[in-house]
Assembly symmetry: D2
Homo-oligomer: 178 residues x 4
């Protein structure tokens, strides 16, 4: 079974293996709130992705899995560039301390966010993005909102499960909760 050696070092998993692992252990994610700031560091805008899923429009933070043998900082950079394009120029935070933890359970109504695919735990960070952001792959749009506009019901209601909570906590942490 020579494939084991390759399995050992590649971060990539065949879909059937990933499906299986997702029912065996919690999956580690990063959830990233992209922001623009003014010269005093105050958050002036937050960025949200827009996607079409099963005939519904949904909005989301930049979010993705941490791969085997990938550091948290590498995962942050990879997902920001994957979702916002190679020119987004993120300034990763100096501290590895997330502002909160996201918890997703495959069981609806458990009190945590719902993710039918898996049990996932995310490290959530506010990340300043200085460059040009272009939606990639499956995203229809990436739009900047003022903190107030991002908390309008029509935006909040479009966010995928769990991300409204992370958005609110991220803005509260950044000191712009109103």
């Amino acid at each position: 079974m020579s494939g084991i050696a390759a399995d050992d070092i590649t971060p990539w998993l065949p879909p059937e293996d990933l499906d299986r692992v997702r029912r065996q252990v919690p999956m580690l994610y990063v959830d990233l709130l992209p922001v623009r700031t003014d010269e005093s560091g105050t958050v002036t805008q937050v960025g949200l992705l827009l996607r079409m899923a099963q005939d519904n429009l949904s909005r989301a933070l930049v979010s993705g899995r941490v791969l085997y043998h990938e550091s948290i900082r590498q995962a942050m950079l990879r997902h920001l560039e994957k979702d916002l394009g190679p020119l987004c120029l993120p300034k990763l935070p100096t501290s590895p301390q997330p502002f909160t933890i996201g918890e997703y359970f495959p069981t609806p109504g458990s009190g945590a966010a719902y993710d039918p695919r898996q049990h996932a735990v995310s490290l959530a960070y506010v990340v300043e993005v200085e460059g040009d952001c272009q939606p990639q792959q499956d995203a229809l749009d990436f739009a900047w909102f003022t903190p107030a506009a991002a908390q309008a019901p029509e935006v909040i209601d479009q966010l995928v499960d769990g991300h409204a909570t992370l958005l609110r906590r991220g803005l509260a942490h950044a000191g712009v909760d109103l």
Copy 2:
């Protein structure tokens, strides 16, 4: 879907499955620094486990895996009671924000901590423990140290890889780094 259903909901994994998963995705852990405080909340003592591993004595924080479908708070309680006994009476922190993140790689010399078994990421918390602590299972001892004593070279050198860093960061976060 008889067997599968059980797989879906049990947090327990057969050893061979766990070994495989550990080479496929990062494993999520909690690393907990048990402390005693005075009435003003100042940390006066930190607790470390002592174990015998391959003829060597080693010290460690309370540490363990988060299971499938287990919340972070449940995992914290379970590992504290598993390692310190059912009478340890932990006061879990009110915030889910860890003071730092631990990263362990199966590759020595990668800059992160070394864990030959797996790639692991831990959420690290300082936890006040108010009750009676007794070493359980494989632990030889559980001992309280003043912050200064815990940072003595003879203690630091016995800590398993990565835990000296977490101990220092936890004490720094608690404001007792000297």
Copy 3:
């Protein structure tokens, strides 16, 4: 320099000196959000003071000035016992890191909270309170609210300027923002 020496070491200021100082430098405060938690550390209730001020009912966090030569932890204990009574049994946080900073300016409309008396900056902490809380002095009542009830408009609207923001940030930090 007889009289001056006393001034040098007493934390108490005559009202006319306090009025003057309040127009000369920012005043340092602590703003404390008292909470009850369940055994897993999850915040289940937050406590708010009710006062009568100029014919209006107003609600507030536990809040007060840090005195000359008083430590932050001493100021926290003093204000909790002053407002909630000597049996309130607070568990001060192990870390001196506040969850946010409150800023109050004597100029309405400056973007910060408004305090006509002074420029003040507060260190804001969530504090678990385990004992019996009784309103003291000028308070009419001290009441516990679920996180959801505390964020109801009729409660939020009664909060003194700046405290609604601190309440929201404190709950967000504690992971119970909904």
Copy 4:
């Protein structure tokens, strides 16, 4: 005494007033640890000021008083530009949450840091500085150190009272404590 109106709005205090106020209330400071980071946000260098005081060389973080009617963010910008020059290009943190609090007492041996002039409390932040830093005013030098070099005994021993603790806590918070 028409000057009172001016006193009310100017942040500047005559030296005799400042001396008096310093014995009446705690003075609010910011303590800032300037850092350089690599593209992944990891701190690679920390900056320290070198000054001559009473025939002794001493090193320090960027540190200074918050003025009346000055916001925390304004005070951070002002002190960074005052000490590092107008081209230092600081990136202020997105969150107002300091990584720790510094406490300075005018009484030696009180357990806190010693400042013979006053009781002071500082909000401590790690601040990334992207531009060109030149020592200003009374500083002899501003030098960048690797995190390891900054913690060498000969550097630590030159730091003004309290700043070694803040340096260690800042590096621990940034995840580069070794």
